[in-house]
């Protein structure tokens, strides 16, 4: 027995070194590979949660009509029914959270309407378009049209 161990020393010693190296590798690997890596695929699942932390800027029109049901009703009865409030009014999630502290500025009508309605041959033919300079004669669009329900 004693002789066997002495003679196979040249096998056992490298084996121990190998195992120690392997152990070291496992310890280092455990330390540097992030928790849960590979749970869903070759990536860090924590990234999903991090990306979901991003704050929302557009509250969505469902939120606006909760308080502004007047405007909501007017808009729903007209051709702008599917144009979201915040498309014209800008991102207002902060206002929806705390209306008193974040009072929005009203949109600039001069640039607002033409962005969608200025005539362009690339636009679908069915979309109502006007050449603004000829159509309004320099007057603001909302002097004739109501923004929330653009019928005259």
């Amino acid at each position: 027995m004693q002789k066997f161990i002495r003679d196979s020393g040249h096998l056992i010693r490298p084996a121990i070194v190998l195992l120690a190296g392997l152990g070291l590798f496992m310890v280092i690997r455990a330390a540097v590979v992030p928790k849960g890596f590979g749970q869903y695929g070759h990536y860090r699942p924590g990234a999903l949660a991090a990306i979901r932390q991003h704050p929302v800027a557009y509250a969505g029109q469902g939120a606006c009509v909760l308080c502004h049901d007047e405007e909501g009703k007017v808009r729903a009865s007209g051709k702008h029914a599917h144009v979201a409030c915040e498309t014209c009014h800008g991102p207002l999630a902060k206002h929806a959270d705390d209306p008193g502290a974040n009072i929005p500025k009203l949109p600039t009508v001069a640039t607002l309407c033409v962005r969608c309605h200025e005539k362009d041959t690339a636009k679908p033919k069915t979309f109502p378009q006007v050449v603004s300079t000829e159509h309004s004669g320099g007057m603001a669009c909302n002097q004739c049209h109501k923004p929330h329900n653009p019928q005259l």
Binding site: R13, I16, V17, L19, A20, L22, G23, L24, F25, M26, V27, R29, A30, A31, V33, P34, K35, G36, F37, Q39, Y40, G41, H42, Y43, R44, P45, A47, L48, A49, A50, I51, R52, Q53, H54, P55, V56, A57, Y58, G60, Q61, H80, H82, V83, A84, E86, T87, G90, P91, R115, C116, E118, K119, D120, T121, A122, K123, P124, F127
Partner: protein, 247 residues
């Protein structure tokens, strides 16, 4: 007692082995993420785009930029205006500032012209994911191609690999940035910022795993196409009535 080199090696080796077993055990069991009402396994996100409805107002680009703080002159979504002469020779494509402020009216009247909104196609077999050397970009279990900002090296392989040009290196963080399909919004029941602000419904967020989603009818009733189908990227952004000249 005399301590030999052999003693140190064998005792040290045993300790290391015990430590590594413990470490891997911790790694395997790993702490579970907190419970959450959003179940990733029951969604598979994509988008449908109706070319015949797009008016090129650029409100989607504007909204995306506001929602995601996209740096100036970089775009996660943009709109292109195609002007195609007869026979498809050199279609003229323009996208001033990604159309963030819409388009100046076209003076052309004799050309076929239309708008094409573009964004990340959320490919199921994405080339960008395949080339990432560190696992910083990936397809999430609900089908959105995302970037791990803490893990990205900024090597830009994925920027080059994307056949649709949808990725950029963020000038401040120096990591790669791209459309997240508003992952922070869709996981809490809102639609994306671009779809929320599309006045004509030309672009719509869809969930292929929801049997009641309009996407199923859309795909059944219309002539649809994805961009660059020959690249077999598994793109999940479907265009209705896409012209053959669109690249």
């Amino acid at each position: 007692m005399e301590i030999t080199r052999r003693d140190i090696l064998s005792v040290g080796g045993k300790l290391l082995m015990i430590a590594s077993v413990g470490a891997t055990f911790e790694q395997i069991t790993g702490a579970k993420p907190p419970p959450d009402s959003y179940r990733m396994a029951s969604h598979w996100w994509g988008m449908i785009i109706d070319i015949d409805k797009c008016i090129g107002c650029g409100n989607c680009v504007h909204a995306c930029s506001n929602e995601n703080q996209v740096p100036k002159d970089y775009f996660r979504t943009w709109v292109e205006r195609y002007e195609v002469p007869e026979g498809y020779v050199n279609p003229r494509v323009s996208s001033p500032q990604g159309a963030i402020d819409g388009f100046p009216p076209s003076k052309q009247t004799s050309l076929k012209s239309f708008f094409v909104p573009k964004l990340c196609n959320q490919c199921a077999d994405s080339p960008c994911v395949q080339v990432c050397p560190v696992g910083a970009t990936f397809v999430s279990p609900d089908g959105v191609v995302l970037v791990d900002q803490d893990y990205c090296l900024g090597c830009r392989y994925c920027v080059q690999a994307c056949p649709y040009g949808c990725r950029y290196l963020h000038p401040e963080t120096e990591t790669v940035d791209k459309c997240t399909l508003c992952y922070h919004r869709i996981t809490q029941g809102l639609t994306t910022a671009c779809c929320e602000n599309c006045p004509t419904g030309a672009r719509q967020l869809v969930d292929f795993k929801n049997p009641n989603d309009p996407v199923h009818e859309f795909l059944r009733n219309n002539k649809v196409a994805v961009l660059k189908p020959n690249m077999a990227t598994g793109a999940k952004v479907y265009y209705k009535n896409l012209d053959g000249s669109v690249r």
